[in-house]
């Protein structure tokens, strides 16, 4: 450029240089965009998608539980709730006051809502009122229609039509606890705020069947986790309907038989082992646990109750079987051939062993006693004699064949093993050798021997059907293995049991079934809760009725009916009920009669 000063040229030259650098750097930015959007675009697209979406589980409907005839034992009901979204509802106390003017809202519910509001993110709804009727819901919906942050909706609630009558067998559902989470592998489903898990009973043992499979909802979420809209959903699979062997009518009837007494009763089909009724008294309301925290007070009062209403005595109560155990002792002696059915022993009321004296329950003694008479009148001396001859290990082997001494595997939580002692057991557990006197005590079902009501019912069912080692159960069917006991011996024992109720001298004559064709056979049992000292015996044993309740004997009865062609077996324990014949046998009688009547009514 002519006429342009060198300084101007310098500035222009440098400007070109700087301009070139600028263009180069803008080019670098363009290259960076290509790198991010084309080369790595897919990776970032995935990240953006991960950012924006979240899978939320969709709760499946819990399967119903039905009785053997399809009547509901546990079902789901649509229930209406009032919810509050903290971030939209304004000051929490003002909102709660507002709701309190429209419906009853107790101080515990208020406190629960306040706690939940503090714990949760502000956009997550909190349940304020639960289990409203449709009318109440409709009324409230109208009243709050214009109010932001408060709304009503429908949810599922578990309903137990039998209430306390079947609470132990069916169980209940409740909020998921930390322990439940650790046990399970489908944590995302369990973490849902409305999810309920089976806490006990069949609800717990069959939880995975009843639970079903969770569906998923693909939600679009914001950076704070707020859900914006549903992008897609895959419905879950409802839980399976569960049909139990229980009979709703008999179950309710059985529960009613206990009145204020505590104890347990089990009614079993002798051919299949299916339970028609299983009762533990006292009981509780299974519907009360739905909301967990809200009913904490109630739970504490139940858990702290000295009568332990939450424990299922039918499977976890372990009692000395008393004279009901004589069935096992008689069969063991017959099988060991240490005694024949018509062999007689003389009972004068006392059996002496070394320096020890073992008494019969009848102070004067029974005179000459054979097996039939020993079962009919429950002579203790006879059983001391044959138990001593048979030996504890052979008695234990027979008891096990009858289903005692080990958990039966019923579909209920908390089942106990009971205890059938052997010489080896004592050496291991107590580090002592077995004493013959202990065999004598075992011979009348005292001492170490323990059994659950369910095991006693199992023993009775096996004796009654005479062929199959049935196992108790609440679900389905299956073939029981053969019972490896000589049928002749079983017949002999059954004949004795028939006489317990069927003859005037039998211990349970007063609790007999008089209607022809429905007769019951069975065995009474009275198990001592306290030891009777020698001194006390000399001064005269105090009558049970004179003792404080917790020292009175447990009353037991096992039986089956009809006596000649058994269909149903029952085991009844009435805690501190006194004698088996007076407290337990009438319950078994009513139950067995009702079972037979229910069958004829149905067919």
């Amino acid at each position: 450029m002519a006429g342009v000063s060198s300084r101007t040229q310098l500035i222009r030259r440098r400007a070109l240089l700087v301009g070139g650098v600028q263009v180069g750097l803008i080019g670098l930015l363009a290259g960076r965009l290509v790198q991010l959007q084309v080369v790595e675009g897919e990776r970032y697209s995935r990240r953006a998608e991960d950012n924006r979406t979240a899978e939320r589980p969709l709760a499946p409907e819990r399967g119903e539980i039905l009785d053997r005839r399809g009547r509901p034992l546990a079902r789901n009901r649509e229930t209406y709730r009032l919810l509050l979204v903290p971030e939209k509802a304004g000051p929490i106390d003002v909102a709660l006051d507002e709701i309190g003017r429209l419906a009853t809202l107790g101080p515990t519910a208020r406190e629960r809502v306040r706690r939940a509001v503090q714990k949760q993110p502000g956009f997550e709804p909190v349940v304020v009122l639960d289990d409203m009727s449709w009318e109440e819901m409709a009324r409230l919906s109208l009243a709050i229609a214009e109010r932001e942050g408060i709304f009503t909706n429908a949810a599922q609630r578990r309903i137990y039509p039998l209430g306390p009558a079947a609470a132990h067998a069916i169980g209940y559902v409740g909020r998921v606890s930390q322990k439940d989470l650790e046990r399970s592998d489908s944590a995302s489903l369990l973490r849902m705020p409305d999810f309920r898990i089976g806490k006990t009973g069949v609800e717990r043992t069959q939880d995975e069947t009843l639970r079903g499979a969770a569906g998923t909802r693909l939600m679009e979420i914001t950076s704070t986790g707020r859900q914006r809209r549903e992008l897609g959903r895959q419905e879950g699979l409802s839980g399976e309907t569960l049909r139990l062997t229980l009979d709703a009518g008999l179950q309710r009837f059985a529960a009613g038989l206990f009145g204020k007494e505590t104890g347990a009763a089990v009614l079993m089909d002798v051919r299949s082992g299916g339970l028609l009724a299983t009762v533990s008294a006292p009981s509780f309301d299974p519907g009360a646990f739905h909301d967990g925290i809200a009913d904490r007070q109630e739970w504490l009062s139940l858990a702290g109750d000295p009568l332990h209403p939450l424990s299922n005595r039918a499977v976890s109560g372990q009692y000395a079987p008393g004279s009901t155990f004589k069935i096992a002792v008689a069969l063991a002696a017959l099988e060991a051939r240490v005694v024949s059915a018509d062999q007689r022993f003389f009972c004068n009321g006392v059996h002496e062993l070394g320096t020890g004296r073992f008494h019969c329950w009848r102070r004067g003694g029974h005179g000459h006693v054979d097996l039939f008479k020993a079962l009919q009148q429950s002579c203790d001396i006879y059983f001391y004699e044959i138990a001593q001859r048979t030996g504890i290990d052979r008695i234990a082997a027979m008891a096990r064949k009858l289903g005692l001494g080990a958990a039966t595997g019923i579909e209920l939580p908390g089942e106990h093993d009971g205890l059938i002692p052997t010489k080896a057991w004592k050496r291991k557990a107590r580090d002592e050798s077995w004493q013959v006197g202990e065999t004598l005590l075992a011979g009348i079902g005292q001492g170490y021997v323990l059994a659950t009501p369910l095991q006693l019912a199992t023993m009775t069912a096996r004796l009654a059907n005479g062929a199959h080692a049935v196992l108790p159960r609440l679900i389905g069917g299956g073939n029981a293995p053969e019972l490896k006991i000589d049928r002749r011996f079983l017949r002999i024992v059954r004949k004795g049991l028939a006489a317990v109720t069927g003859s005037r001298r039998g211990t349970a004559w007063n609790a007999r079934i008089e209607e022809a064709g429905f007769e019951m056979a069975g065995k009474t049992g009275t198990s001592q809760v306290r030891r009777i000292s020698r001194l006390e015996r000399r001064l005269g044993v105090r009558k049970n009725e004179d003792l404080p309740r917790e020292q009175r004997d447990h009353a037991l009865f096992v039986g089956y009916a009809p006596a000649d062609k058994p269909r149903y077996a029952a085991a009844v324990v009435v805690e501190h009920g006194g004698s088996g014949s007076k407290a337990a046998a009438p319950i078994a009688r009513d139950l067995l009669l009702a079972a037979q009547k229910a069958e004829t009514a149905a067919s």
Binding site: S6, R7, T8, L10, I11, R12, R14, A15, V18, G19, Q22, V23, L25, I26, L28, L29, A30, R32, L33, V34, L36, Q37, V38, E40, G41, R43, Y44, S45, R47, A48, E49, N51, R52, E220, I221, T222, S223, T224, R228
Partner: protein
């Protein structure tokens, strides 16, 4: 009077308006329109609260830009130092009267307006240095007292702003100043010397940084260091850009911005919204727009007839470039997160007004391209400079 007489007298305001480079004005308006559209999107499809005010501010700034453009360039030459001094005073002013915002003291409240004096300094410094290097020969430009003065002009505001602490703005003031030193004709040897001295200062600067500033630098050097904390913005921004792909997710369909994953999507990170919704195509279009604006500024500088307007045009263009580069490089994860807006697109008044004043000066250089500039650089008052004088 004769010395500054216009060669072609008789131009009225209409004639002056005709001499304005309208294409440049239209390019700026177009960029603002892009900003309007993206602010509308960032607000979830709403004129409020950003898009509408953004357009209004551009309109108001346009008046200022026109006024600046129509004022005789010789007036700006004379006022260069006073404007610089006033800006410096304002920066000192915020030290005492300023409001703290975003962890830094930068705002000065004047009635209903909040202004950032440090923004104005970016242009004031260009003005002052252009004046400083006006009408010198090479030896004068490289004389030690002049160099020291030039360095002081740069260093004083840069250090004051860094103390606020607003490192991004301080760096931009420094970079703009250094570019003008280079354009002004400092010899290569001296320039290299400055470079070494500046390098030696890096450790000192590092220890002068606040914790959160050091965090940003460290996070930039190792992005995986703190993805939930300091690295979150940068990472989410890269996801926004990258997930846009070639052609984007569509207008108003950006998930990163609309679902709240992109921070500051209406201000410093708006380029990520553009890239997410319009993809590579959108990003390149915006960069092309900026290149075109820079080209016009550059051309005006190239055609200028004296050193002051030459340096002014190159300097303003370079400052504009610095905004673009710093912002896009930050959003794209090439440099640490610094608070620099995307010119004419990000929401926020001061930066836009600053650049409009800057481009007003550039336009004035074009409008008054033919006036005779005094060759005397002594700073002596150069007579009345007004539109009336030009007639």
């Amino acid at each position: 009077m004769k010395a500054w007489e216009v060669r072609r007298p008789g131009l009225g305001v209409g004639g002056l308006l005709l001499r304005i480079d309208w294409v440049l004005v239209i390019l700026l308006a177009l960029t603002t329109a892009v900003g309007f559209a993206m602010l509308y999107s960032a607000a979830g499809g709403n004129i409020r609260p950003w898009a509408g005010p953004h357009a209004l501010r551009f309109g108001a700034g346009l008046m200022v830009m026109m006024a600046v453009a129509l004022i005789d360039i010789r007036f700006w030459l004379r006022c260069a130092y006073p404007i610089y001094a006033a800006s410096l005073l304002l920066i000192v002013g915020v030290e005492f009267l300023g409001e703290v915002g975003m962890g830094a003291q930068r705002w000065l409240k004047v009635g209903p307006l909040s202004v950032q004096p440090s923004e104005f300094m970016k242009i004031a410094l260009v003005l002052a240095l252009a004046r400083h290097f006006h009408a010198l020969d090479d030896s004068e430009a490289n004389s030690v007292p002049r160099l020291l003065l030039a360095l002081a002009l740069i260093a004083v505001p840069a250090l004051l702003v860094a103390r606020q602490p607003d490192l991004g703005t301080a760096a931009m003031i420094g970079a703009g100043g250094v570019a003008l030193l280079f354009l002004g004709g400092i010899s290569w040897r001296l320039f290299a010397l400055f470079g070494i001295a500046a390098g030696a200062l890096v450790p000192a600067v590092w220890y002068g940084l606040k914790d959160y500033q050091r965090d940003r630098v460290l996070t930039f050097l190792d992005p995986g260091r703190d993805l939930a904390g300091a690295g979150y913005h940068g990472f989410q921004s890269k996801i926004g850009i990258g997930s846009g792909g070639e052609f984007g997710k569509g207008y108003l369909e950006g998930t990163q911005s609309h679902l709240g994953f992109l921070p500051e999507s209406h201000t410093d990170f708006i380029f990520a919204v553009i890239s997410e919704e319009f993809g590579l195509a959108g990003g390149l279009f915006v960069l092309a727009l900026y290149l075109a604006i820079m080209g016009y500024g550059f051309a005006i500088g190239f055609m200028a007839r004296n050193d002051f307007t030459r340096l002014l045009a190159f300097g303003v263009t370079f400052t504009f470039f610095l905004f673009v580069f710093a912002n896009v490089a930050m959003v794209a994860g090439l440099i640490p997160v610094v608070g620099v807006p995307l010119p004419f697109i990000s929401y926020g008044g001061t930066a836009m007004l600053t650049l409009q004043i800057g481009f007003g000066l550039v336009l004035s250089a074009k409008v008054y391209r033919d006036v005779e500039m005094e060759e005397d650089a002594s700073g002596r008052p150069a007579g009345p400079g007004s539109i009336a004088a030009i007639r």
